[in-house]
């Protein structure tokens, strides 16, 4: 197991290196720079800025400097927000996105699995149809429409929650719901289909024949096996949700990390692009590793250390 994790960590480092290199060269290939604006700066001032931020040096120097400082967890100063470093941006934004993401994950996983189980146990009955109509809508309605809809109904019409912003727990409910809808629907469908598959297995029949109660069969034998696809979906999902969503953060005015992914690119804020990409890369790769480890715990048939068979 330890050997496996060690090897995976090594691969992670390699992936990160590739991510950093690709991002570095792609962002430099894009036209424009962090100081190009509607009102063009006098050339002397721009030259001075480029010198200060080291943008006038040859690309390989900049590239290796980046690698070294990233290895020291120093992403450098932000171009867009004077006086703040990219580390500040991440340290301020990530906890917010993480909190909101956890809330959304909790809703998505809890309700999604519940809906999926209900649908599967009542296969082809109204509960099944109801849950699946709900799920299809959840998948097909984009999150920004869901967000505006929730704002309109629950905040403006019913006055239960504030429209937007990030102050208290009440402020986080609507964005968490909006963020959770699509994954919840997806999880519900995943759970349902894998439950149905598991339910038709021989060992379930055996359990039934042994006279176990429906509850016991479901909890002990079905859910555990039916959750594997959900777990594998959970890895990339949590990486994505925990680092924040641009759309939801924009609509609800949330000071999370998600907006930096998009805005840093349009601002050509080089250091921030690098910083958030590396950060996201680390979160994503770790989430995948956790998922793989979780596989082994949930399903003993999967052996992680067993070489090729484990894949």
């Amino acid at each position: 197991m330890l050997k496996y994790i060690g090897r995976r960590l090594l691969y992670m480092l390699l992936s990160l290196f590739l991510i950093i290199t690709a991002t570095f060269f792609l962002m430099r290939a894009a036209p424009g720079g962090p100081f190009s604006g509607e009102k063009q700066l006098p050339p002397e001032i721009e030259k001075n800025l480029n010198e200060f931020y080291g943008l006038d040096r040859p690309w390989y120097e900049q590239y290796f400097d980046y690698l070294i400082s990233i290895a020291q967890w120093d992403f450098g100063p932000s171009f867009k927000y004077k006086g703040q470093t990219v580390n500040d941006l991440i340290n301020n934004g990530f906890p917010v996105s993480f909190f909101l993401g956890m809330e959304a994950l909790f809703i998505a996983v809890g309700l999604g699995i519940l809906l999926g189980i209900i649908a599967a146990l009542n296969h082809n009955k109204w509960q099944d149809y109801g849950a699946m109509v709900f799920a299809v809508m959840g998948i097909s309605v984009p999150s920004f429409i869901m967000a505006s809809f929730l704002q309109y109904v629950l905040a403006i019409k019913l006055g239960l929650f504030p429209v937007a912003r990030w102050e208290s727990f009440m402020h986080s409910v609507l964005p968490a719901l909006a963020l959770a809808t699509t994954p919840m629907a997806f999880i519900a469908r995943l759970t349902r289909s894998s439950m149905l598959e598991v339910l038709s297995n021989d060992y379930i029949r055996t359990a039934k024949a042994k006279g176990l109660s429906k509850f016991q069969i479901t909890v002990r034998h079905t859910i555990r096996n039916a959750l594997l696809p959900v777990v594998s979906y959970l890895g990339p999902l949590s990486a994505q949700i925990l680092t924040g969503s641009f759309v939801i953060e924009k609509i609800f005015g949330i000071p999370g990390l998600g907006s930096h992914f998009v805005l840093s690119i349009s601002n050509r804020d080089y250091t921030t692009i690098m910083g958030v990409t590396v950060f996201y890369g680390i979160i994503l790769l770790s989430a995948m590793l956790l998922v793989d480890i979780a596989y082994g715990l949930i399903d003993p048939r999967i052996k992680l250390a067993g070489g090729k068979k484990g894949e």
Partner: protein, 547 residues
């Protein structure tokens, strides 16, 4: 049967969602209005909540270079002058004297204090201006101070700090020497790059401006008490302010919500007292309805939306072709059907907030007859027989829904009125601006907002072909000379005539096709009074109060 039932059920569900979404907006607004009305006049809380869209670039007056930072700094700091009702008034300066050649200003400062009780001295101004000009501080807006003698030279490392033409003669006297006579210098001293900085603190703690705290001192009507990055800024009344008696608001909360629809919803839900310009935006789709309900406030500002012609690319090197294209645009249709914010059709370069007579402009809007004449003449000059023989034309704009709609409308007008086919091309902002500045375009969209209240703002960018913001490759000796001469003219009337003459040349040569003049549109709590929105679109909350 079962299946059909479920289908019906799901359809009903979807339908009910839509119906709910389409319902009127009225209910909540009424209740919000009632609440405001019920409040007793005497104890209305003097607390204002506005949206400023994004995190400001920097709250150091010398480093700020964007409207968001400006909107915060204008409330917390104060310069030598302040713009009220469109005119500069003495603020930190009690009085001033100007030398006969208009190059030396001597300001007498009033007794004022920083938020921490330190006196505001002339040394604070000298320190702040020199700090912004010092190349090692990387102030992007240092060029706003290039009017000061040796300002540019110092910023470019060609002169020493002592050579810069700003000097504190004593604690209360500031002497400023200018590079050239600058008739609008008192407008400039109200701009945030000219604000003072508490030199005692800044010298001790170079990071004073990065966060709110005891070292963040300012000299304006409000002080910053908290700054949650990317989330909100809270200002409170500055009791040490010299004119504190006239400041009624006790608190201003500035939120950073970067979504026009959310901003309006928050306003409708009573979470904001003001939505829209100048610090935020309203969704364009909502403007007609707000106007109908009589809630929309509209104010023209100093900004022009124009198309630039690259005058070195044929056929745009021909003035008659440029005229044909410019005259054949129906601006009224554009502002009424696309932008919807009561923008003013522009047939001139300088906005009416600076030249009121420019509401009429130099030519007729949508003058198809004249456009056709010029097209014919232009084709003759180019030796072409038919419109079809014109080199292919491309109209570029940065990716944005409103720009796209305007470009499509104009494409259609040119095709219908002149038979000229143009291709549309859009690019992401940074890519676009790069192409425009490097001359890699034929016709391109651009907007220009004035930094200070003087027509020179809108004219001088076309003075030099190589000037950073010209982009059209157009240069005209007489136009250039008029602008240079106008700088030395002490008589405002004569100077205005020179600038008008220059604008007439620009509007005859048409390296640009003006489309419309910008407006500010907003909604506000109706019991909020005294907010000063200047012709430049800057906002001052100093005199604001709730009735």
């Amino acid at each position: 049967m079962k299946k059909r039932l479920s289908l019906l059920f799901s359809l009903m569900l979807v339908l009910s969602l839509f119906l709910a979404a389409c319902g009127g907006f009225n209910k909540k607004e009424e209740t919000a209005g009632d609440q405001a009305g019920e409040d007793k006049k005497a104890d209305v809380p003097q607390e204002l909540r506005v949206n400023i869209n994004t995190e400001p670039f920097s709250l150091h007056p010398g480093l700020a270079n964007d409207s968001t930072s400006g909107a915060v700094l204008r409330q917390t700091f104060e310069g030598l002058t302040v713009i009220k009702d469109g005119k500069p008034e003495p603020a930190m300066a009690e009085s001033y004297e100007v030398s006969d050649d208009l190059t030396t200003y001597t300001f007498k400062l009033r007794d004022a204090k920083w938020t921490n009780g330190d006196p505001v001295t002339a040394h604070d101004f000298e320190y702040a201006w020199k700090w912004a000009l010092d190349p090692k501080n990387q102030a992007q807006y240092a060029y706003q101070l290039y009017y000061i003698k040796n300002g540019q030279a110092f910023n470019e490392g060609k002169a020493k700090a002592e050579d810069v033409g700003v000097k504190a003669l004593d604690d209360k006297t500031l002497q400023v020497t200018l590079e050239n006579p600058t008739p609008y210098f008192l407008e400039l001293t109200a701009f945030y790059t000219y604000f003072p900085v508490n030199s005692k603190i800044a010298q001790k703690n170079p990071d004073w401006y990065k966060n709110a705290g005891p070292d963040y001192t300012s000299n304006g009507p409000f002080k910053m008490v908290s700054w949650e990055h990317n989330n909100k800024i809270v200002l409170e009344k500055n009791e040490n302010y010299w004119d504190a008696d006239n400041v009624k608001l006790t608190k201003i909360e500035m939120f950073m919500v970067n979504d026009p629809n959310t901003e309006l919803s928050m306003f409708n839900n009573g979470e904001l007292d003001w939505a829209g310009s100048p610090t935020g935006y309203l969704p364009t789709d909502a403007l007609p309805k707000l106007k109908e309900e009589g809630k929309l406030h509209v104010q023209p500002i100093a900004g022009t939306y124009w198309y630039k012609f690259n005058t070195e690319k044929p056929p745009l090197n021909n003035v008659n072709i440029r005229k044909a294209l410019t005259y054949a645009i129906d601006r009224k249709a554009i502002v009424e059907n696309i932008t919807k914010g009561e923008q003013i059709p522009a047939m001139a370069a300088v906005p009416p907030t600076m030249f009121p007579e420019n509401e009429k402009g130099y030519f007729k809007d949508n003058d198809v007859e004249k456009a056709k004449e010029h097209l014919k003449k232009g084709l003759e000059e180019l030796g072409l027989k038919d419109v079809k023989d014109l080199p292919p034309l491309t109209l570029s704009f940065n990716t944005n829904e409103a720009h796209a709609k305007i470009a499509q409308a104009i494409q259609d007008m040119w095709k219908k009125n002149l038979g000229i086919e143009v291709k549309l091309e859009n690019a992401e902002w940074n890519v676009y601006i790069d192409k425009l500045h490097s001359g890699d375009y034929q016709i391109g969209r651009m907007g220009w907002l004035g930094d200070f209240n003087d027509p020179i703002n809108f004219l001088e960018l076309y003075r030099d072909k190589e000037g950073g913001n010209n982009d059209t490759n157009w240069e005209h000796p007489k136009f250039k000379q008029l602008l240079i001469d106008s700088q030395k003219e002490a008589d405002p009337e004569k100077r205005k005539q020179m600038l008008k003459e220059a604008e007439a040349i620009l509007m005859d040569e048409l390296p640009i096709a003006p489309i419309y003049f910008y407006t500010n549109t907003w909604v506000q709590k109706e019991n909020l009074k005294g907010v000063e929105v200047s012709g430049l679109g800057d906002v001052l909350f100093k005199w604001a109060y709730f009735e």
